[in-house]
Symmetry: C2
């Protein structure tokens, strides 16, 4: 896998330079990024989670050095490194706590380990917050002062930026937009992380769409998906999207209903931070801008939001898809490093 | 009416000095405040809304001069003035839009008018946001970096401060915590401002508590309030509190249910901004810290929140009553002026 960003040569790049590291459960994406958000070099390496975090940190540091060498940049010229990882975490102390997809990495001081391995200062962030910062810096949010990003994937992540400032939270639980309550009834769906009831994630994540679809099929819904389901095929959100593209009414209804819950959550978020821009990222975009179903999904969210909010707020709020795709994480991590570097430089 | 803040003499005050102006529908509170948040002089004047905003601005400016004279401070020594008004408003442009309790003040450029009348720079804020900033600066939030304030009064207002930064919003609709959706069912109560369904304000404001109580009494609830209701007495939230103090089970249930909706809203707010501190201000505190009913209300909110959130977030979040009462608005306005003054001073 590579980046979708065009790579620029060092001769066209602007100092200072940053490295962005985006740690996932399977892969780690690392990019060398200039002051304008342009990528000079990129590499994706395997996480190899069971080998433990110290080994991974050593390979991250090697990759960082390799990217600089490939771009012809002295590694000492790196101004700062940004590191995004999945929660749970303690951002202020630079610790992983208990990230569910990294069982061998629990309670590891990853920020300090990467600082030691590279000799550079590291800015530490939640991966979804880093992705939000990427979209804010050089993606859909480029011309905005504030933004909310919702990442619709296996779960629902999020990142909130207010007047240029990323909301990390006092307990490193800021911007957890997937845990906004959109259904307070006793029958509300349970959050996959246990405990929470009626969270947005239980309605608008790919896992939720899959679960809701299967429940409907089990209840006898009239759908082209019935045959697939009965034959034991996995009914993923992707499969629901494909059925909807084929005109399946049941699948379209599921997508509409997902849009309604997203609109409820977005209304609440907008009434709290009034960002002017809400961006939908992540894999579950039902085809996005290039698909009839994706645009129906987006327009349903927009029209429901308009119903739920006040007219001047509706007029002053844009809802749109993200543009950076899987690159948002490493770009945002680099952007956070840049932001910290510039702030510290002012002191 | 006066302030509950002890007044200090100029000899004990610390420069720079600020004036805080808190505009309400009936009265305008103005305080002369030092760099540490101490009040040197205070006056409450009538709004005289029908006389129009220009006349009120002239009286505000006169009062500002008078307070300085009373404290023995040269008016020219004021560093900046803070002005809080009820919305709707355009904060960036310094305009009132259509504040419902100020029908003769619509579309008035109040910030620039006050600057012209005083010769000082004016920081402009929403009144609830100003109150939040007051509590954050020198009230319950004094030792915190972030805070959410909910003001429970006729409506539910709010103010959100993240890492010292007040969320005003791109459309001047930031921190409108009363419009967080806490019930998305089709039967949800309607927001008094029209349009919105299931907003926190429709469940946890004094007007909502009164309306919900009356509905219960009409449905035949067994309560000491029945006699009062049937005799035509007004069943205010205050009256519900008094009945609860007397042990009325129906009234206590209403207060418990109010706490449940507040906990739902607070959970959503905490999952978005993770402030570490949520403060309940406004007149509807059911007696606050000094009352058994008030503490039952607070503890019910706390226990429900604990059920609804994640254990580490519950541990890292304090929910408590505000401490500044009706002084929060003018103190916060002065605090916002101070904040802007200090920020601008760094440039």
């Amino acid at each position: 896998m590579t980046t979708n960003q065009p790579l620029i040569p060092l001769s066209q790049a602007k100092a200072p330079y940053f490295l962005g590291v985006d740690v996932g459960g399977t892969n780690i994406k690392i990019g060398l990024v200039d002051n304008g958000g342009k990528t000079l070099a990129f590499k994706e390496i395997e996480t190899l989670e069971p080998d433990g975090p110290q080994a991974a940190v050593a390979r991250m540091a090697d990759t960082c050095r390799g990217l600089c060498a490939a771009a012809g940049l002295d590694f000492a010229k790196i101004a700062r490194i940004g590191l995004g990882t999945p929660g749970s975490m303690d951002i202020a102390r630079g610790l992983l706590i208990e990230p569910p997809n990294h069982p061998h990495w629990h309670h590891f001081p990853i920020r300090d380990a990467l600082e030691k391995a590279t000799g550079h200062k590291v800015s530490f962030a939640n991966d979804a917050n880093a992705a939000a910062f990427g979209e804010f810096w050089i993606g859909t949010g480029e011309k905005h002062a504030s933004m909310v990003l919702l990442t619709l994937g296996t779960g629902v992540g999020g990142g909130i930026i207010v007047d240029g400032h990323l909301i990390n939270g006092v307990n490193s639980f800021g911007s957890e937009c997937g845990h906004v309550i959109v259904d307070s009834s006793p029958k509300a769906r349970l959050c996959v992380w246990g405990g929470g009831r009626g969270h947005l994630e239980a309605y608008a994540s790919a896992s939720a769409v899959s679960a809701i679809t299967i429940e409907g099929l089990q209840a006898g819904a009239n759908s082209s998906l019935q045959a697939a389901y009965k034959s034991g095929e996995k009914i993923s959100a992707r499969r629901v999207y494909e059925a909807a593209e084929g005109g399946d009414k049941f699948a379209l209804d599921i997508i509409d209903s997902t849009a309604v819950y997203l609109a409820i959550g977005i209304t609440t978020m907008v009434h709290m931070v009034d960002p002017g821009l809400v961006v939908l990222g992540g894999a579950m975009d039902f085809g996005g801008h290039n698909s009839k179903v994706g645009m129906r999904f987006l327009n349903k969210i927009r029209s429901e939001f308009k119903e739920l909010t006040f007219s001047n707020v509706a007029e002053g709020t844009t809802i749109d898809f993200a543009t950076l795709g899987g690159d948002a994480g490493y770009l945002g991590a680099a952007g956070i490093a840049r932001d910290d570097y510039l702030k510290l430089g002012l002191r």
